[in-house]
């Protein structure tokens, strides 16, 4: 969108990422999506009298990984607080979250701008909390259903500074965070299942105004598209309101994807005073240097760093580098293959060509690929060493994909697909071909170079494609010259 002339926009995002854990943050109940309502709500998730939360330690590891990934400060001591409000899908009447001492403070990520430049976006904080259940309003007239399966699912809330200046920047930032979260296996990133949800704080101000404008918070956006549309609408609405000489009031809004507009939430659903105080049922979270160092050691190379490495050290085109680095499993596959082939460019071509095409066609992820990196590396090496031709290699790849073999070399050997580079085998064949086709041989000698293809083709036909084309070329040229 183009920002209305004379105006600037300030956007900050709060991103709620469900952590990829098998059990909930304070109970042993499963976090699996899509089960029967309330079948995964333990007495703790139900907030029964006398029950107590016990923290699932896995969540700290994931939060620390995120903190390290964005270069934030990991609080050696963080604390849980209670955020009090009444809502039927909040069983205890308070949410356990982190207010004063979040586990991660600061940090930043780099986003790409449409003009090709980049921009650093600062993070305020990231903290751990529990998800609420779901209220289902449309099942039964006059009743609201409550499903507490989601209640207690661990969340990492990631808060950015209001440094995003357009809907495009906001979406770009959201995508970078999404990529980082999935890369570090903090969150499965499944937007359709609500694993990642955005709250956008949007305000506008005149170009020369120093102070930020009055902001609206648009809650619970669950796709990049809705994020973009909601912010676009909100900017127009705020600018139009101010242009009409009216004033804005700070509010909380919901986006209606059908009408493409935001509407204020009923005041009942938005408490003004959450009465935070330290959660007395849980001890402060103390993380040792050793614990953090262990996690640091296990950190993978981050996608943006990886892209750079592929681009500069491997000399891959930027687009290829980004394509391979975007998905951690794909990048790992690429790195493993290159480690064996030592030919980054060829390997990249094989992966983004044959392999990704086949995977896309079969709707498989790289983790589900029937061809392993070892198998692919062996195949590529056989081509590089002239053991088989590129054409034969495609067939061997097909055999690997379809499971007709588990090893390129075994398959090639079994079907005798090796390139014939044996001069003693090729020379008599070429000699007899020239004898059979004297006119063409003479014409070739006379300079009709396209007849070279005719003879090469004949040799290939006779060897079932196994002859080394370059060698065949040289041998024919030699014989013709001797004529």
């Amino acid at each position: 969108m183009t920002i209305p002339a004379g105006w600037q926009v300030d956007i900050g995002l709060e991103i709620h990422a469900q952590l990829k854990t098998t059990s909930k943050i304070f109970s042993g109940a499963s976090t699996q999506f899509g089960q029967l309502p309330n079948s995964q709500a333990s007495v703790i998730d139900l907030g029964m009298p006398g029950v107590l939360p016990a923290v699932n330690g896995v969540v700290f590891e994931k939060a620390v990984r995120f903190g390290l990934g964005v270069g934030g400060r990991i609080n050696r001591e963080s604390r849980f607080d209670r955020k009090n409000y009444f809502y039927p899908d909040l069983p205890k009447g308070y949410q356990i979250t982190q207010m004063d001492q979040p586990i991660v403070v600061g940090g930043s990520v780099t986003i790409d701008l449409p003009d090709g430049s980049t921009k650093l976006i600062a993070l305020t904080r990231a903290h751990l909390e529990e998800d609420a259940g779901k209220s289902i309003h449309d099942r039964k007239p006059n009743y609201t259903g409550i499903d507490l399966n989601r209640a207690g699912t661990p969340l990492l809330e990631i808060v950015s500074e209001p440094q995003l200046k357009s809907p495009e920047e906001a979406v770009s930032y959201a995508r970078v965070i999404h990529q980082l979260l999935t890369y570090l296996e903090i969150c499965d990133g499944n937007m359709a299942e609500g694993s990642l949800r955005f709250d956008a704080n949007v305000s506008v101000r005149r170009i020369n105004d120093e102070a930020l404008g009055v902001r609206s918070e648009i809650k619970n956006l669950n796709s990049f598209r809705f994020l973009d549309q909601a912010i676009n609408f909100e900017i127009s609405r705020q600018v139009e309101t101010l242009n009409a000489g009216e004033t804005l009031s700070q509010d909380t809004r919901l986006f209606d994807p059908d009408q493409l507009e935001t509407r204020p939430m009923r005041s009942k659903e938005t408490a003004t005073d959450y009465r935070y105080f330290p959660e007395p049922d849980l001890l402060p979270v103390v993380l040792s240097e050793r614990y953090i160092d262990e996690i640091k050691k296990e950190m993978p190379e981050l996608p943006q760093v990886r892209t750079q490495r592929y681009h500069s050290a491997f000399a891959l085109p930027l687009a290829d580098a980004q394509l391979l680095a975007q998905d951690r499993r794909l990048a790992d596959f690429f790195d493993e293959t290159v480690a064996k082939t030592q030919t980054p460019k060829t390997t990249a071509n094989w992966i983004k060509g044959d392999l990704l095409a086949r995977l896309n066609e079969a709707s498989l992820t790289i983790a589900e690929s029937p061809v392993t990196s070892e198998q692919l590396a062996e195949l590529i090496t056989m081509v590089d060493q002239d053991t088989i031709s590129g054409k034969i290699a495609k067939d061997v790849f097909g055999a690997l994909w379809e499971g007709r073999t588990t090893s390129a070399s075994a398959y090639v050997h079994e079907h005798q697909l090796e390139q014939v580079s044996d001069q003693s085998a090729l020379e008599p064949l070429i000699a007899s071909l020239l004898k059979e086709h004297p006119k063409q041989a003479d014409d070739l000698k006379a300079g009709k170079d396209k007849l070279m293809g005719f003879f090469v083709g004949k040799v290939m036909q006779a060897t079932q494609g196994k002859a080394n084309p370059k060698q065949v070329n040289d041998l024919i040229r030699g014989k013709i010259d001797q004529r």
């Binding site: 007495v43 139900l46 907030g47 029964m48 009298p49 006398g50 029950v51 107590l52 939360p53 016990a54 923290v55 209670r82 009090n84 009444f86 039927p88 069983p91 205890k92 009447g93 308070y94 609201t144 409550i146 009942k268 005073d273 009465r275 935070y276 105080f277 007395p280 049922d281 849980l282 001890l283």
Partner: protein, 486 residues
């Protein structure tokens, strides 16, 4: 000593030598409950069938010479402890029909050790009260004087033990709720170090202060029960992962060399003169037992009631938010919308004392007031704790009165909340500091029991129990029983 007033250790040996069976003993208490509970109102729920079933199983074990350390001993449990499939009310209309699908860790431990639960005892609603008058199920009468309160909030447990309607009981103590009723009914009541006993399954009042403990006739009995209630529980993050001493085996170590602090601040205005005389007499016993008494100061202790009445309501205001009529507990009829469901379910389900504390706590946590109230109270709490830490550099125990007066009349203080709250003036500081503290019978004033409080250093329950036990070897206040026989 007639049988219903026997100590656990006496009953233990009678069960072992088969001079009485667990079934006979259980039936004895059940009969007394049937006769006396209509007068005393100390039980909310009695599960006769379950108790007799467990008693028969206990007899089989005893006959084989097997069984646990508490096998066949009939006890009661405060109705704040969830027991699976047993009505657990916390003294509130809100939970009048609540049957939890789980049990409190300490109740489970007691049953695993062989104890027989006769029933669940009456209490101030959600443990908020010092007289047992806030219970939805009506006030409990003090067996020593039926016109008087038994203390609170564990008043039902105290009255049940004092009247011989069980051999021992459990209580919880947030600001004095074990010690004050123990004092008023002539019992031994121990509030252990915060975290010594798991809070899992114990209905929360104020999470940072709540602690379960035994209510018994003797210190020796308290030692026995504590051994089977204490221990780390992964389901309670605040429970302490510390070894459980064999408290019972350390009771006889002499007190010579023990330094006991006498704190000036525990003899403040409001302390009944006759009670003070009883307490000062008791000090002499400790000196005769070889202990040395030293004067100490806990300068911030007078601030404890004020700090407590901010922190406890603040925590309870959040802890009681879950009672919203949505998933369990009282729900109003025909709510017209969500707001109505909340307002009427909570309005009807909670009594006035509970509502008052929720309002106070909500206010203390509100934006603009948090710093002046909640944060300030937490600062005071730290000062109070620091006073104790410093005092325990010099002494092993601190002693004083448990409550400022003996049991008062039912209805006497219901319209005077400040006076009521001052009942806990000597007990609250141990909760704020998280220290173990115990009340033992130390004398009587006009036929009413008076309790002496002992406060120990962190995890020094053993020292408390030892001092209490030796005091009881030298005195017989703990052997007096109320004149309530039919």
């Amino acid at each position: 000593m007639t049988r219903p007033f026997s100590s656990l250790s006496q009953l233990q040996s009678q069960l072992k030598d088969r001079s009485i069976s667990a079934t006979e003993l259980t039936q004895l208490y059940l009969d007394r409950i049937e006769q006396l509970n209509p007068i005393l109102n100390c039980y909310i729920t009695v599960d006769e069938e379950h108790a007799l079933e467990r008693a028969r199983a206990a007899d089989q074990q005893l006959a084989r010479g097997s069984g646990g350390p508490l096998t066949g001993l009939p006890i009661s449990q405060k109705d704040i402890f969830c027991i699976k499939d047993t009505t657990t009310t916390a003294g509130s209309k809100m939970l009048a029909n609540f049957r939890p699908p789980y049990s409190a860790t300490c109740s489970t431990k007691l049953e695993q050790a062989g104890a027989i639960t006769l029933g669940k005892t009456n209490m101030d609603e959600f443990a908020m009260g010092s007289s047992n008058e806030t219970s939805f199920f009506g006030p409990v009468k003090n067996p020593w004087d039926l016109l008087r309160i038994p203390g609170g909030s564990s008043g039902g447990s105290a009255a049940a033990v004092a009247a011989g309607l069980c051999a021992a009981s459990t209580g919880t103590d947030t600001g004095g709720s074990i010690r004050q009723p123990a004092a008023m009914c002539g019992l031994t009541g121990l509030k252990p170090t915060y975290g010594r006993i798991s809070r899992w399954g114990m209905i929360a009042f104020a999470s940072s202060l709540d602690q379960a403990g035994p209510m018994t006739r003797t210190a020796q009995d308290a030692a026995l029960l504590l051994e089977h209630m204490a221990g780390y529980d992964p389901r309670d993050a605040t429970s302490l992962d510390e070894p459980i001493p064999k408290y019972s085996q350390e009771l006889s170590q002499p007190l010579s060399g023990l330094k006991i602090g006498v704190c000036r601040q525990f003899f403040s205005e409001g302390l009944d003169n006759a009670v003070e005389t009883v307490i000062r007499e008791a000090f002499k016993i400790f000196e005769q037992l070889g202990a040395t008494l030293v004067d100490i100061e806990l300068p911030n202790t007078p601030l404890s009631v004020s700090a407590y009445y901010v922190i406890a309501p603040a925590e309870c205001s959040a802890n009681l938010s879950r009672y919203d009529g949505v998933r369990f507990g009282h729900r109003c009829s025909d709510p017209k919308d969500l707001q109505d469901l909340y307002q009427r379910s909570r309005g009807e389900g909670f009594g006035n004392e509970v509502k008052k504390r929720i309002l106070v706590g909500t206010f203390a946590l509100s934006a603009g007031y948090y710093d002046a109230f909640y944060r300030r109270a937490q600062q005071v709490r730290r000062l109070i704790k620091n006073d104790f830490v410093e005092a325990f550099d010099h002494v092993d125990l601190i002693i004083g009165p448990t409550a400022p007066t003996p049991a008062f009349k039912i209805g006497e203080k219901v319209d005077n909340p400040v006076d009521m709250y001052l009942q806990d003036i000597f007990t609250i500081s141990a909760n704020l500091a998280g220290l173990p503290a115990m009340s033992i019978p130390a004398g009587q004033v006009e036929g009413l029991p008076v309790g002496l409080q002992l406060i120990g250093n962190y995890l020094q329950e053993g020292t408390l129990l030892r001092a209490g036990h030796q005091f009881q070897q030298a005195t017989d206040w703990h052997q007096l029983t109320p004149d309530i026989e039919l």
